[in-house]
């Protein structure tokens, strides 16, 4: 063996015409060194390289027969507009080969506001389906038998009223709570880190998670009480090691929370499920799922479970939306296929594949079909399901699996040294880590070091127009408001009030089970907003603090001429105007996507701008006032959840009303091309869609601020 390896080396050097093989090694962003060739030697020092699927430590999969017996579940995440429209959409998809449902709620619901609340003007029905009460939930599942259909719900902030509404809707369909199967996301730690649909401060939030685990452990044996999610971290910028490590560390935190309530580990651990992202780094992502199972089995051992299912990691996966581009979007079909392959070769239990119009809008009917068919084709045409863990025993894959696990263990240990994940999150450390990864990634793309086809290489001259789905949110909002009014008329106010008071009291006294109380309130037709408010009365709404990184983006441009030129122009501006260009980066409505806003903020400040970074969830009125008091040259709105056509014109009206019309307004984020003209007419100075390099944004913003200063 050794001999032949030496011979291979000789040959390889000859092929590349170099003395050393260094150029063939690759250091991944995770800091893992990938060699050009792996051999049996690489396995010799590793443990668990010859294990069986279905058996500890489950590297090769949680089931003995995996897809050979039953393929993974095709579970597409969807929801938009009203319950009626989403219901029709779900039923059609089920007819066309989808196997499980996964509900996407709108941001008003996520954040516990009823559709008639003033802070959600631009959000109702936009990025998911609007649910205000049991009545909406019943419509959403009408004609869908909830005793047979497994339903996954991405809900974290307003998890109590929404899960309660689901339970009551089933009840009124004649389905008992024990029969329900599916998953509730209920993972609040990652909300504080990256997903941003938290409502309450950490302590109350963790109590809610615990109450739900306890309730489901007792009443819902077929229901996953939590979906411990790394997906959102990856999409916010985390590399695979950080996604893996933070997710496992979060999981441990939930286990401890449940144990602290006196539950036995086997009472709940078998119903913990996971959720990972699958990006474009093909081998890495396969290894990630294998490593995740290994780590979980390893870590759970400390709690001494008797039931093997307690340490068996089962996961849902979604292909990475971040990897998809607005430019030349048909490429996205290919990217998603590659990612889907990685997910199933890694052994996922269910999968969502993204649509090719991901970076433009919610999926259209056609793009949803292609996304779904990607999986059907893998299952039914490519014969992928015929064998368990095809990568098992691969020198490279086994070695990579262990390298990933090794790196992740280090991060998990760091978190434990900080006092556990909840503490670390309170200190803001994981969030900063992820934002640093994101800024590094952006710099690599903007400076051309990482290739993104159609964005920084192999661009097309003319983009085809593609059809997109647009939701008329004012229509949805009106309809929701009407239904809310009808409900409030027909219910017994006194009973509802009593049920809500009971919730408030239970929060105050730290007693009772909040899900149990929420079910009672929702049954009496309390609304999502009212139940959420009943809790907030005691603990308030949580406001996150921003801690921004700086210098990371600039570091990716060391020695770059264009970067230096822009910095110089900023200096010149200062010489002429007596201060730096100053911009207020705004997030309006309930849109919690902040990756772009943060990257733009840190990038602009690295280029010499003074950047005011506003908090999440502002109204246009609030942005206008704060920007005015900071006396900025420009406001940069980052909008990804489709609120732009409502919120941006409103912002400009507010500025005009305050006599501050000279403040320029820029918009960036997910804005369909077809809306550009509309926004410009409303007075927007310039629009920057997905994929625009931050240095280009800065250049244009500076130019327009300068032009404004002249007249």
């Amino acid at each position: 063996m050794d001999n032949s390896y030496q011979e291979w080396k000789k040959l390889a050097k000859k092929e590349i015409r170099q003395e050393e093989l260094d150029s063939l090694f690759w250091d991944t962003p995770e800091g893992i060194r990938i060699k050009p060739l792996y051999t049996a030697q690489d396995l010799s020092e590793l443990t668990y390289t010859d294990t069986m699927p279905g058996l500890f430590p489950y590297i090769r999969g949680p089931r003995a027969t995996m897809y050979v017996n039953k393929p993974w579940t095709i579970r597409q995440y969807a929801g938009f507009s009203t319950a009626e429209e989403s219901n029709v959409f779900y039923k059609k998809n089920l007819e066309m080969g989808q196997k499980g449902l996964s509900v996407a709620f709108d941001l008003a619901t996520h954040r516990g506001y009823d559709s008639d609340h003033e802070r959600v003007m631009g959000d109702v029905g936009k990025a998911g389906v609007a649910i205000d009460s049991v009545e909406d939930m019943k419509i959403l599942f009408s004609g869908i038998p909830l005793d047979k259909m497994s339903v996954s719900m991405t809900m974290n902030g307003a998890v109590l009223p929404v899960l309660a509404a689901f339970i009551v809707a089933a009840e009124e369909q004649g389905v008992a709570v024990e029969q329900l199967s599916g998953t509730i996301q209920n993972d609040v730690l990652k909300e504080f880190m990256v997903r941003n649909t938290y409502i309450y401060p950490p302590q109350t939030s963790m109590r809610i998670v615990g109450d739900i685990i306890a309730y489901t452990a007792k009443n819902m044996p077929r229901f996953n009480s939590i979906s411990i999610s790394g997906y959102h971290m990856y999409e916010a910028g985390a590399d695979s090691v950080h996604e893996l490590a933070f997710t496992i560390a979060d999981g441990l935190e939930y286990v401890k929370e449940a144990l602290s309530r006196g539950l036995a580990v086997d009472d709940f651990a078998p119903r913990l499920s996971f959720f990972f992202a699958i990006g474009m780094n093909f081998y890495m992502e396969i290894a990630k799922l294998r490593a995740a199972r290994l780590l979980w089995a390893e870590m759970m051992a400390q709690f001494e479970p008797k039931n093997p299912q307690s340490s068996m990691l089962r996961t849902h996966c979604q292909t990475s939306g971040w990897s998809l581009t607005e430019q030349d979007p048909y490429n996205n079909l290919i990217r998603t296929t590659v990612e889907a392959m990685a997910a199933v070769l890694g052994g996922t239990q269910s999968l969502h594949t993204n649509a090719m119009d991901e970076a433009i809008a919610l999926p259209s009917e056609n793009s949803s079909r292609w996304a779904r068919n990607t999986q059907i084709i893998l299952q039914e045409e490519a014969q992928i399901c015929r064998v368990v863990d095809p990568f098992g025993g691969s020198y490279f894959m086994e070695s990579l699996t262990h390298s990933l696990a090794h790196e992740a263990r280090k991060v998990i240990l760091e978190m434990q040294n900080l006092g556990g994940m909840a503490k670390a999150i309170e200190l803001g450390i994981p969030k900063m880590c992820i934002e640093k990864c994101a800024a590094e990634r952006q710099a690599r793309i903007d400076s051309g070091k990482d290739t993104i086809v159609g964005v920084n290489r192999y661009q097309v001259d003319k983009e085809d127009e593609i059809e997109t789905l647009e939701v008329d949110n004012s229509r949805v909002r009106e309809q929701q408001i009407q239904r809310l009014q009808a409900i409030r008329k027909s219910r017994s106010e006194a009973d509802v009030k009593e049920a809500l008071n009971a919730i408030t009291q239970a929060v105050k006294d730290n007693q009772g089970n909040l899900l149990d109380l929420a079910v009672k309130a929702m049954r009496l037709r309390a609304t999502v907003g009212e139940v959420s408010e009943a809790i907030a009365l005691v603990c308030g709404r949580y406001e996150a603090k921003n801690n921004l990184i700086s210098g990371v983006y600039a570091k990716g441009f060391l020695g770059d001429q264009e970067f230096m030129d822009i910095k110089q122009s900023v200096c010149d501006f200062n010489q002429i105007h007596g201060r730096n260009p100053r911009i207020y980066i705004a997030k309006m409505g309930q849109d919690g996507h902040d990756r772009g806003a943060k990257i733009v903020a840190t990038g602009f400040s690295d280029l010499g701008f003074d950047v005011d970074i506003g908090p999440l969830f502002q109204t246009p009125e609030e942005v206008a006032q704060m920007a005015l008091e900071a006396d900025v040259h420009a406001i940069g709105v980052s909008s990804l959840a489709a609120g732009h056509k409502t919120l941006v014109p409103r912002l400009i009206e507010c500025l005009n009303a305050l006599g501050a019309s000279e403040i320029l307004v820029f918009v960036g984020g997910v804005i369909p091309r077809s809306d550009y003209e509309f926004l410009r007419q409303k007075g927007v100075a310039s629009i920057f869609g997905p994929g625009t390099p931050v240095i280009q944004c800065a250049k244009e913003v500076l130019k327009l601020i300068e032009a404004k200063g002249k007249d």
């Binding site: 730096n580 400040s605 005011d612 970074i613 506003g614 908090p615 704060m626 008091e629």
Partner: protein, 320 residues
Amino acid sequence: MLAQELALGILSQNRRSLARAITLVESSLPKHRQAATELIRILKSQASPRETLRIGVSGVPGVGKSTFLETVGLAMANANHKVCVLAVDPSSQISGGSILGDKTRMQKLSLHPNGFVRPSPARDTLGGTALRSREVISLCEAFGFDRIFVETVGVGQSETTVYSMVDVFLVLLLPNAGDDLQGIKKGIMELADFIFVNKSDLDPHACNRMAKYCESVYELIHTPREGWKPRVMTGSSLSSEGVDELLRGLMQFEQFLLQNSYKETVRRTQKQDAFLQELKIVAWDQFLKTKNNVINKASSSLIEDKISVADALWQVIEGE
């Protein structure tokens, strides 16, 4: 023109005008300096003076100053005070740009009808900042704010600078400075009228330990104000614990300031000091300009060992 317009705006409580006036005062351009000076002049002649309290707040980054000001400022704003916060954020040294995140920490105060929060990037450390900040304070007072907070990071000379423009100086400390209790600068403790050991919600015991330590230090050192012994308190800007006590303390301090017109005396001295300090800078600049030639000549003679230092000085003073 501009000065006139901004002055009118400020006197009629237009926030936009105040915001622009602050920009003008902070600008590094000579022509802006001129307009700013005129603006201050107009305001001085027209604004009706009222009782105000200028409060300096200092502490290391992350100790919780902004969070503290949100809590304390809101309490004051709700009690019908007009509260403004001037927050100086450290600019990134390399790029010259900055990230001003304070608004996110003081959102409620920013949006309160009685509140105004203005983060400013700290330019080339301290040259001129003191003067500018003093002027910004006067703009805010002319507008009608009666509680003016100046938040500063506790690095370098910034706290003495801020001390020299406020009536009362508040220092925030972290409880778990741990083993390096000695690491707290004695200088800053001498300046403090109040010490607030923050984040008691996290570790009340550590807070108390820290407070005890501070008190023991005060047994040993001499503090500059006759008749006011620095108060050491513990509390939390997040949970508001200890904030009421602090507000009461501030009220007592205000009483103290009114005795024997202590506040007037302090402000007068501060003004004079500031004048002298600025004068030194301006005069030095002026001197360098007019004496450029003689200085060069004298210094080369000195280097060539032709004359003594005393002679060189003499030549410069006498020469043209």
